[in-house]
């Protein structure tokens, strides 16, 4: 009941015209960027970080969440019509979706994707609204020792989950930690890693790091690739509206996909890749009748689109649970959103629910609205989005670079920030080329200084006695989870390997 009234209050916040506008802007931008191959929601949120400073905390968070959801929708469009998944979450959608498009049923695939996304997103957002307050109750008992443990958990899980290799993940984390060191030490006033440069004494802005790594690094990477995608784009054929019979076929995949996505979203296993893969293989394994024939004959089965699409949107909602209640990002986009909170001096965690309850519940409520908006702008207007795919690459990427530079120079005001942007762009490029995950860098840069402060404050209170770190059962439990979270992905690597093989199979068609 309590949750329900908070959610109603949130709806009032979300329904304010300004916030509705931010939600609409977010879903439009998210879909647009999701459609474009190679550009994911993490990059979009990063690009908008500096610009959004003038939007206010609630408005920009609502917009960012809209981008996250919209990116998941948009990714389906390019997967189905172009066979080039916009981001990893849509790889499985491309498998059956593109076959359906080649069979002249692209419209149906798009329809199943949009409704699946809506279903998965909405159900999982309800789950988020129910579970988040429960998590907050647990987390309110946390002290410095528990927070330090939580940050260790966060460090280990992002490093282990993103990308294939724990070693590369941890290297990325330590690069992030070193970025967090730059500037004046909060406790003693000592300038660290500043080398006499005044701009460095004021800490490096997380937005510069995020934009450099994600936008500039990714653009450099795309420019450096000599092979170009030359998949033929399929025209949208057939109605996007599903018949009752088709909806019936999709219902079970929707339910299974939503369950998988919501379960895996909050876990530090790297976002939507694993749940979409599991959903696809479940549909393929259990298919009967017409579906069986369509899976086997390569005509493309609607179940294979419906399940993974429900799963990827459900996982986006699931990701928000640990992000909002504990400040733990479990996907790259969540890591960039964490940078967004930080930009406003907000630290996601249990306290956020009491100190900024309007923002949190407004954000959750706006997710429902964003989902509704997405179905409306996706089903009838799919043709408009498709046209985005015809923007020539030079203009598109030059525009992205320009926008990145504009945001940074506008927020920081000094040309020195562009030098930093270039440096982080180069770092991001090398990391991308050598398959290092980027999210741990951000998490290290954001949480590193907080972890150091908690540890040093705790030590001061306890007069230099380190044992305070391990005397609490909650802290010990968190450490145990951290160990399990590092060991867990190793078990899952079997699955992700199969996922990679499946994505490779895409290129052979």
């Amino acid at each position: 009941m309590d949750t329900f009234s908070l959610l109603l209050d949130g709806l009032l916040v979300a329904a304010q015209p300004g916030n509705l506008g931010f939600a609409l802007l977010g879903v439009l931008l998210g879909t647009a960027v999701g459609v474009l191959p190679g550009l994911g929601p993490a990059l979009t949120v990063a690009l908008l970080l500096p610009v959004s400073l003038s939007f206010g905390a609630t408005g920009s968070m609502i917009m960012f969440a809209g981008i996250y959801y919209g990116g998941m929708y948009g990714g389906a469009i390019s997967s189905i019509l172009l066979n080039t998944p916009g981001e990893t979450a849509s790889i499985m959608t491309a498998l059956e979706g593109n076959k359906m498009a080649k069979d002249g049923r692209g419209g149906k695939a798009l329809g199943a994707a949009a409704i699946g996304s809506f279903f998965g997103g909405t159900c999982a957002t309800i789950g988020l609204a129910i579970i988040a307050p429960l998590m907050v109750k647990v987390a309110l008992a946390f002290g410095p020792a528990e927070y330090f443990a939580l940050m260790v958990l966060s460090f280990l899980t992002v490093s282990a989950a993103f990308g294939g290799s724990l070693m590369r993940g941890l290297t990325a984390l330590f690069i992030g930690l070193s970025i967090g060191l730059v500037g004046i030490d909060r406790l003693t006033g000592q300038a660290r890693l500043s080398f006499g440069v005044p701009e460095l004494r004021d800490n490096i802005s997380i937005a510069t790091v995020a934009v450099g790594l994600f936008a500039i690094g990714e653009t450099l990477y795309i420019a450096s690739q000599s092979s170009t995608m030359n998949e033929k784009m399929q025209a949208v054929k057939g109605s996007v509206w599903l018949t009752l019979g088709e909806l019936k076929r999709c219902l079970k995949p929707f339910l299974r996909g939503t369950g998988l996505g919501f379960m895996f979203g909050p876990l530090p296993t790297g976002g939507a890749e694993i749940p979409t893969f599991l959903s696809y293989s479940a549909e393929r394994r259990t298919a009967k009748g017409i579906a069986r024939e369509e899976f086997d004959s390569g005509k493309g089965a609607i179940e294979g689109v419906a399940g993974p699409e429900a799963a990827n949107n459900a996982s986006a909602a699931g990701t928000l649970i640990p992000l909002l209640t504990l400040g733990l990002p479990t996907s790259a986009t969540a890591a960039v959103m964490l940078a967004g909170f930080q930009q406003y001096g907000l630290q996601p965690g249990p306290l956020l629910f009491t100190s900024n309850s309007e923002l949190v519940w407004g954000l959750i409520a706006s997710l429902f609205i964003a989902n509704l908006m997405l179905v409306v702008i996706n089903l009838p207007f799919v043709g408009v989005w498709v046209r985005l795919l015809t923007i020539p690459k030079p203009w598109l990427y030059a525009g992205i670079m320009t926008f990145a530079a504009l945001g940074i120079i506008g927020a920081q005001g000094t040309p020195f920030s562009l030098i930093l942007l270039l440096v982080f762009g180069l770092v991001g490029f090398v990391m991308r080329r050598f398959d290092y995950p980027l999210a741990p860098v951000l998490v290290g840069a954001i949480l590193g200084p907080l972890a150091e402060e908690q540890l040093r404050r705790g030590l001061m209170i306890n007069q230099g006695d380190f044992s305070f770190l391990v005397t609490s059962w909650i802290a010990l439990t968190i450490y145990a989870i951290a160990v399990a979270a590092v060991a867990g992905p190793l078990l899952w690597s079997r699955f992700s390997k199969r996922g990679i093989e499946a994505s490779k199979a895409l290129h052979e068609h």
């Binding site: 290799s165 030490d185 030079p394 030059a398 320009t402 926008f403 530079a405 050598f434 230099g464």
Partner: protein
């Protein structure tokens, strides 16, 4: 996509010698060592302090620096074992264009050209890097775009963008 496969095989690590040392990986390791040394050198220069905490501002830098050095060693191991994923041949020219684009914009801003001209150079060179010619055309497109962006973000959203040669005239128009 056969062409894709061909180019993949022509990358820095050909199929037959997958156990050959990855030079790029060694380069990363070298970078990590230099960075670790830099952090340690910086931390060693802090004045000594006494406090109840017993750990001063230099402890975390030492830990981070040591961590980076350790991962540098592990990177060498990975490079020698060929653990890095296969890469396509690096296309240098576009990357250089993009670097020149960002570098050019930075230099122009330091020189006081203002946002619009600097950012148009960025746009023009970046579009050229992605294969769009000639440069004067891409620059002009950039100029048009950046004038619009300037009005939108400076006048509309109140973002402070550095002024220079063109900006004062636009500001007058919107006064």
């Amino acid at each position: 996509m056969a062409t894709h496969e061909d180019k993949g095989a022509g990358a820095s690590r050909p199929d037959g010698s997958s156990r050959a040392t990855d030079i790029g990986g060694l380069g990363i390791a070298l970078g990590l060592f230099v960075f670790a040394a830099l952090i340690a050198w910086d931390a060693s220069s802090y004045p000594e302090r006494r406090s109840y905490a017993q750990i001063g501002p230099e402890i975390f830098p030492y830990i981070v620096g040591a961590g980076i050095a350790i991962f540098g060693v592990l990177t060498i191991v990975m490079a020698r074992r060929g653990d890095f994923p296969e890469r396509e041949a690096l296309n240098f020219a576009p990357v250089l264009w993009l670097l020149a684009a960002l570098g050019g914009m930075t230099a122009l801003l330091y020189a006081g050209s203002g946002f619009i001209i600097a950012s148009s150079v960025l746009f023009g060179l970046a579009a050229r890097g992605f294969g769009r010619k000639p440069v004067w055309l891409t620059f002009l497109v950039g100029l048009l775009l950046n004038c619009m962006l300037y009005v939108l973000f400076r006048q509309g959203l109140g973002l402070s963008l550095p002024g220079g040669l063109i900006e004062p005239y636009i500001n007058v128009l919107f006064r």
